[in-house]
Amino acid sequence: MSKLYSGAEIVFKCMEDQSVDHIFGYPGGAVLPIYDELQNFKSIKHVLVRHEQGAGHAAEGYARSSGKPGVILVTSGPGATNVVTALTDAYMDSIPLVCISGQVPTHLIGTDAFQECDTTGITRPCTKHNWLVKDVNDLASTIHKAFEVATTGRPGPVLVDIPKDIQFQKTKYKKPKKEKKLNGKSHNHFNQNSIDHLIDLMSKSSKPIFYTGGGVINSGPKASELLRELVYATGFPITSTLQGLGSFPGDDNQFLGMLGMHGTYEANNAMHDCDLMINIGARFDDRITGKIDEFSPKSKKVHIDIDPSSINKNVKVDLAIVGDVKTVLSSTLKSLKQKKSKFLKSNKQKTSKWWEKIQKWRSVRSLDYIGSEETIKPQYAIERLYELTKDKDSYITTEVGQHQMWAAQHYKFNKPNRWMTSGGLGTMGYGLPAAVGVQVAHPKKLVIDIAGEASVLMTIQEMSTAVQYNLPIKIFILNNQYMGMVRQWQELLHDKNYSESYTAALPDFVKLAEAYNCVGIRAKTPEELDDKIIEMLNTDRPVIFDCMVDKVENCFPMIPSGKPHNQMILGPKDQENKKITGKGKSLV
């Protein structure tokens, strides 16, 4: 007779078989049996966070930087509700997470027991799938299935809710089944005809553009390699969404920078004027398209995506290719080589006028800002940070707001999985715990959270986690004492009524760092900035870097709400001419 294991042991047996090496969690009454078993499974390291939201974002950072699913362990009731923000964040940005939550014993479910909540009910709309395990015999197969659902197709978060009595009950352990098909849901639905159609469109186009997104990153490093190969083989310009940064080298001449609300002038104008748009792993998000009726009016649109429900959701496309980016790109490259081996040469002439136009847009230099010798401009701070860290293969996380957009604009990424930011949900407080997760996955690498002072205070307690596990993360705060993006919108759209966007009683971040037993550094002038950054980089402990920047700097360029791509506000000088009026004001 085979050995019997308790539910709690089975949780860890499953994790072993799923090659989990780190879990992020916080103990509590309903998961105590699981925590009791932790010590018997040496290959699995637990990272104790300070708040369950932190566990969730840390698992996201871990997943995004490593390509493996992030695993979370939380207790019932508040433990589960605290992790909801992170699950929703992962759902929006398609990050694979497996969340194990404790639940009150089965006989108490529905009695309003202590720390009871309807966890599967609450998390149903923010997970790919979730399970309440009511029979210990289903536990192993459910957890294995959970890993499969989280990591296959369009990745996303899942949750397994395990009542406490199930954790004690014993049964046989079942290894994961090698099952490829998921309820008949395979992921590559394209055929050679679509690929041929794509190549035909490519060879006919004189104003093409690649528009790439997080799907390229999610498809694995190989997809980024293939993307580079395809972009070089065609000579087409390429732009990327916020989530796609790093899949193509940020300093390459064919790269037009990020597109969208705070994208570059050249990227947005090229999107507007192109005759062929090839969307690879992006989803026509509203921050990207601007006014949808006037979005790229003259182009044929191709959409490559693993999720059939993304096709024609916001923008109708002419050719849809449903499949994994890596597989689609490799088929495309193969066909391109066979049929049009001299594509680059023959196309250079055809797209030369297009490139001339792009150079003209480029010459506007839309990311420029007015420098200062007295105060640190936030853009300058990012530029210096980039220059001083670009040879270090660094990993960057961010919070949400102006600093996030400046980081996306001015920090150039050359590799996938190096950029972790909350795009879909826009979660302030994401970056610090995400940096914890990234550093856990990459202990020897440089991990920087480019933060704002308002965002970072939402999850600042995770500094304590970083100190406990000797995770030398660097929290680089662009401190302007305002919720900068809120202040910017109030300036541009609400007649400078700065309602509640100024934080009047900020902590002293240097002293705060000392209180957490890590290192605090403050930079006040552009002159001392480089030295201070170098000091930060030379510190092998967690650092909170308080970079005092210009308080009223705005993030440009910007597509105002309700405007199409070709009507951007460029900078301080341009604003007078393009006041935002009427409907645009009511949009988010």
Binding site: R124, K128, L182, K185, D286, G290, I292, N312, S561
Partner: protein
Amino acid sequence: MPNSKSAYSFSNKKEKFDTHIIVVWVDNEAGVLARVVGLFSGRGYNIESLAVAQVDEKLKISRITIVTTGTPQVVNQIKLQLRKLVPVHKVADFKREDKAVIFKEMALFKIVGPNNKLEGALKACKKYNPVLLDKTKKSNVIQITALRREIDKMSKDLKKFGLVSVSRTGAVAMTRGADIFK
């Protein structure tokens, strides 16, 4: 404020709303109906009627029939989102005017009144396969099976015969002919 699916699209184009009958085959497990229905409510789509029951005891498959209205784009999005759910096996979509599909709903009417009214009510239902389920001196319970609009009409027409209570199911659907939906 105009309806908008995205923060930016203040679409001026009025698209046509069609009634669709969506049939979903799902694993009969806890919470599955909430998942399906949640997709509708979470996106602000309305459900006109709903019918659900297990249809395969061995495989534990339930069949959910949902009547909804929406633009072609919305209905397409509903179908694609439904197909993504883990317990969903297949999704069929029929337009109400589709001749190749049979739609039926059932209704129970309670009539209270003198004998001549009770008889009048039964007579009025004649076209819709009436079954007299319960009869007392003062009351009748009549079952009919018909289309939605026919039941709507009967619910109105029977008032004069002393209709006091109506209970009705959602629509169920089945394709005509030998073919089944795969």
